[in-house]
Every structure is written in C-alpha cells, then in structure tokens.
Amino acid sequence: MLEIQALTRQFGGLLAVNGLDLVVKEGEILSIIGPNGAGKTTLFNLIGGQIRPTAGRISFAGRDISGWPPHAVAKAGIARTFQSTSLFGELSVIENLLISCYCRTRVGLRGALLRSAGFKREERESHQRVRQMLEFVGLDGQEQRRASDLPTETQQRLAMALALATKPRLLLLDEPTAGMNDEEVQGLVGLIRRIRETGVTVGVIEHRMKVVMGISDRVVVLDHGVKIAEGSPVEVQENPEVIAAYLGTEGSD
C-alpha cells in the first residue's frame, strides 16, 4: 500500500536516507530497525511530510504523496506518532482527541455560528469517536486530565489514540516503547497487535529486539540511510551484515 522508490534525503553533505526502496504491505506490522543515525526517523519524517525528499518517490494507495504537506498526508490516511511523545500538553485528554477528529469532520464556520443540525450531529459523532478511542487504548475515565500530567506510558497510549482518531490506514509509530518497563512494554505490544486487528497497517521503529521479534511480520534494517537487510524477524537476526552493523565488524570500531 505504501511504495517508496529511490528515496533520498540529503542534509548538507550527509545522505540521511540514500536511494531507499521500501514497500509496506497492507495489513502487516513492519518493523524498521537500525543503529542510531541510520535514518529511521528521517524516513518517517519524509513519509509524514515533515521534511521533503531530495529525490525519489513515495506513493500511497496509488497516489504520489512525495512532498505533500503533513496535513494532506494525514488526510490521505497515514498517521504517525513522534519519538519524544508529542501531545497538546496543556490541554485535557478529551480536547487532545477532539483536535485529531479535525480531518475527518467538515462542518465549517457557518455551521458553527448557526449551531446547525449538521454541526450538532458531527459534534456528537466526534465525541462518540473520542470515547471509542479512549476505551480502545485504555484511557477511559481520564478525559479531564491534562495531557502533560499523565505518566509516560499513558502519554504514549494517548499519542496513539490521537493518531488513530484520524482514521488512518497506515500508522507509523516512532519508538513507542522508549522509556518503559517490561510490563508497560507488554501492554503496548498488545495494543499494537489490537490496532492491526482493526485493519490498520503498522510501521514501527523499535530498538528492543524482544519487541521486534515478537510483533513483526517483516523487519527492515537501515544503516547509514541504506537498507542493508529485509525479511522475517528470524532471517534478519541471523543476517551477518545486520550483526556487523549493530556490533561492528572486526577491525572497525
């Protein structure tokens, strides 16, 4: 569903992503791994429209989305979370979620000023959707809390709920388990699986090998902006190039 061809992004003299070809298949959980500085987050930023590609092509569901602004990418059906959990910190949980209903709602100023029937219906639907999302990620009962007051793991769940409320077909998660203990990681892994069960394709950047091995259908390994391996978790784990990239080959490092 997502096809990336010869994608390149240059920062000054550095090729953060270099001629990358990548396919995300409908319904799978794809993990993207690689050492620090491999270009994983840059890849997500390129797909999400946060930065523009220097060269190459990103197409999603048959449409060329390369260089689209983030809000258009979101509307096209790709949602993402950010590495440092990104929320509307000073707003309440429910306000956070209502904002992410924006791109799937359409009543404009006139409806809002006149409080039209369409406006009221849409507000009801948005609130209902927000309640569903809260329940789905296990945040029900916390509607009125300030997002920034929540513990890290709960914030990550909220970040996922925000992304899901945009009704994506593809969800990109940037290190969702960062800074969490084993129990919390287990909970999030379960949540990611349940997200896939609802028909959403998932791409995830992950550092914990246990998580990668546990949830991925396929794994792509990046190093220095280049794809060095691709395959099932087991295949990738045994690939000598991958081991070299992570541990360093003899002589170097």
Binding site: F88, I99, F119
Partner: protein, 329 residues
C-alpha cells in the same frame, strides 16, 4: 453551586448591570469612559482570538482597526452612505486587511511574525498618512456623522444621537462579538486554532492545515478589529492616521494580557480596567505613566494569567478543590 452555574449567574448579573448602567449613572464622563471601554473590549476580543486562542501576537491590529475606521468613515463622509452598510463594509475591509497582511506574515512564527506584522501595519498607517486625495492625510477625517437611525420592525426607528443610545450600540456589538467568537472557538475550527497555539507541528501531523487556519483566524480577527475601528470613528467623530498606529495594537495586547490571555472574560475585563483605571490616576498627573507601568509589571509577574486567571486561582484556592484543566476560552 457548580462553577458552571456560578459563571452563568455572574454573566447574567454583569449583563443586567451593563444594560442598567445608563439608568444608574447620569455622569456623562463616566458613561463616555464606558463607551470607550466597550470599543476597546471589542478590539481586545479580536486580539485575543489571535493571541490567546491561536497563539499569534499580531502588531498589525492597530492597522486593521484603522482600516475599519477609515473604510466606514470615508464611505459615510465622502459618498454619504448610510452608517450600517458602511459598518458591514468596515468588517469586510478589516477581514481583507487580515488576509492581505496574513498571507506573507503567517509564513513566519514567533518574533519574526511579530516584527513582520508590525511592519505591514506601519505600511498601512503610512498609506493613510500620504494618500491625501483619499484619506485627507495627516489632517484626518473630521465631523464623521453619528450612526444613522436604525429602523426596527415593531419598535420604530432607533436614533443614536444621545450618549446612552451610543452606549447601548457599542455594548450590543461587544456582546454579539463575544457570542460569535465563542461559537467559533467552541467548534472544530476553534479547537484547531488552539492546536496551532499549543503544538503546531503535531496539529499539522494530525491533519490540521495550520497555515489556512491561521489565516482564517487573522481574517476573523481582522473583521472584528475593523468593526471596533468603525465604531470608534463614529463615536469620536474624528479619525487620523495615528488611530491606525502601533499604540492601538499595543493597547489591545495590554488589555488581553492584563485581563487574562485566552479566557473569555479576560480581554473585556482588561479593556475596562485599563480604560477606566488610568483616568482615576489623573490626580497624580505626572506620575500616571509610572503607576501604570508598575501595575503592569506586578500583573505580569504575579498574575501571568491576568486578572481573570488570578480570580480563578483565588476561587479554586478558596474552595480548596484540586487543580484541574479549565476548558479554554
């Protein structure tokens, strides 16, 4: 009594008081101050939509205020147009001004936006000063007529010659402005405005077209500023380029900050306090600005959320309820 009920009661009480004022106060000077307060409050409501809700500190609002004032005053004085359509066109002109100034300036954020909006505002003011054939230049527009009588079905014609009538006019516009802004803010569009203020990158990633919405906020805010300017010109009966100047923007920001950024009541409270209070300092004549400045510093240091925020904090403290998020605006 819940906080909601308390707020309702307070709103109704203040509205009642606002309506009763001309009957209670015969002193024309005080009534004049109240008229000015209402006009400034409309400007403050407009600036709060930008600063408090969308998080954009515009110094072009003096110019938008001036554009509204010049539009309706020139139409009335030069073409003899009726005041009411001229007021509507002042709103349109203010909105257009917001669009034209917003298109280039909204590509920047933070201090860059502040500076660029200031520059565009100054350009507008210079145009008013130099385009003498149209604007009468630095001499300004004199003897701007009072609002034309308004025919109301069932009641007859309302005239606006008297001070109380003008007071009711500006009060009604203020209430209408607050009401409409509330409805916008309490909708998906308004929530998107908040989202831009709090975390623009995340808002974009969640499908909020930030540039388009910031522009919309600028246009709406410009329309309200234009209306305020039009009422000002009509009430003062005189308008010159300095009424479109930097000091108007600065006062607007002052009202919003002192009253309480991002709250509904804040800009109104700020406009009333900052219009009426300095007048009471007249006794101290040359120390007036000094006292004014000190007061401002005290407010900013001890009440970063302004008067309204301070009152809220006190209220919460008095009730000993735990801190919780308050819905914005």
């Amino acid at each position: 009594m819940t906080a909601r009920q308390a707020r309702w009661l307070l709103t109704c009480g203040l509205l009642g008081l606002g309506v009763a004022v001309p009957a209670l106060i015969s002193n024309t000077y005080i009534l004049h101050l109240l008229v000015m307060s209402c006009i400034w409050a409309i400007l403050a409501v407009s600036m709060n939509l930008m600063l408090g809700v969308t998080g954009l500190l515009s110094l072009a609002h003096g110019a938008l205020f001036g554009i509204g004032g010049y539009t309706s005053a020139l139409l009335v004085v030069r073409t003899g147009m009726n005041f009411w359509p001229a007021l509507g066109l002042a709103a349109v002109a203010g909105g257009l001004g917001g669009l034209v100034i917003g298109l280039p300036t909204l590509r920047t954020r933070g201090p860059y936006f502040v500076i660029s909006s200031l520059c565009f505002g100054l350009v507008v003011q210079i145009m008013m000063d130099k385009w003498e054939d149209l604007t009468f230049g630095p001499l300004g527009i004199t003897s701007i007529p009072v609002a034309s009588p308004l025919p109301v079905p069932g009641i007859g014609r309302i005239t606006f010659e008297s001070l109380p009538a003008q007071y009711y006019l500006v009060l009604a516009v203020l209430i209408l402005a607050v009401f409409l802004v509330r409805r916008v803010v309490d909708s998906r569009v308004g929530r998107a405005f908040h989202a831009i203020r709090v975390n623009e990158d995340l808002a974009e990633a969640l499908g909020v077209p930030a540039m388009r919405l910031a522009l919309l906020a600028f246009v709406l805010s410009g329309m309200i500023a234009g209306v305020a300017g039009s009422l000002y010109a009509m009430y003062i009966t005189y308008l010159n380029p300095s009424d479109a100047g930097f000091w108007v923007s600065l006062n607007g920001i002052l009202f919003v900050v002192v009253g309480g950024v991002g709250t509904v009541a804040g800009p109104i409270v700020g406009a009333f306090v900052m219009t009426i209070l300095p007048e009471t300092f007249r006794l101290f004549e040359e120390f007036r600005l000094l006292i004014f400045g000190l007061l401002l510093i005290v407010v900013i240091i001890f009440f970063p959320q302004g008067i309204v925020g301070g009152v809220r904090r006190f209220w919460r403290f008095a009730r000993r309820s735990p801190e919780r998020t308050t819905p914005h605006a």
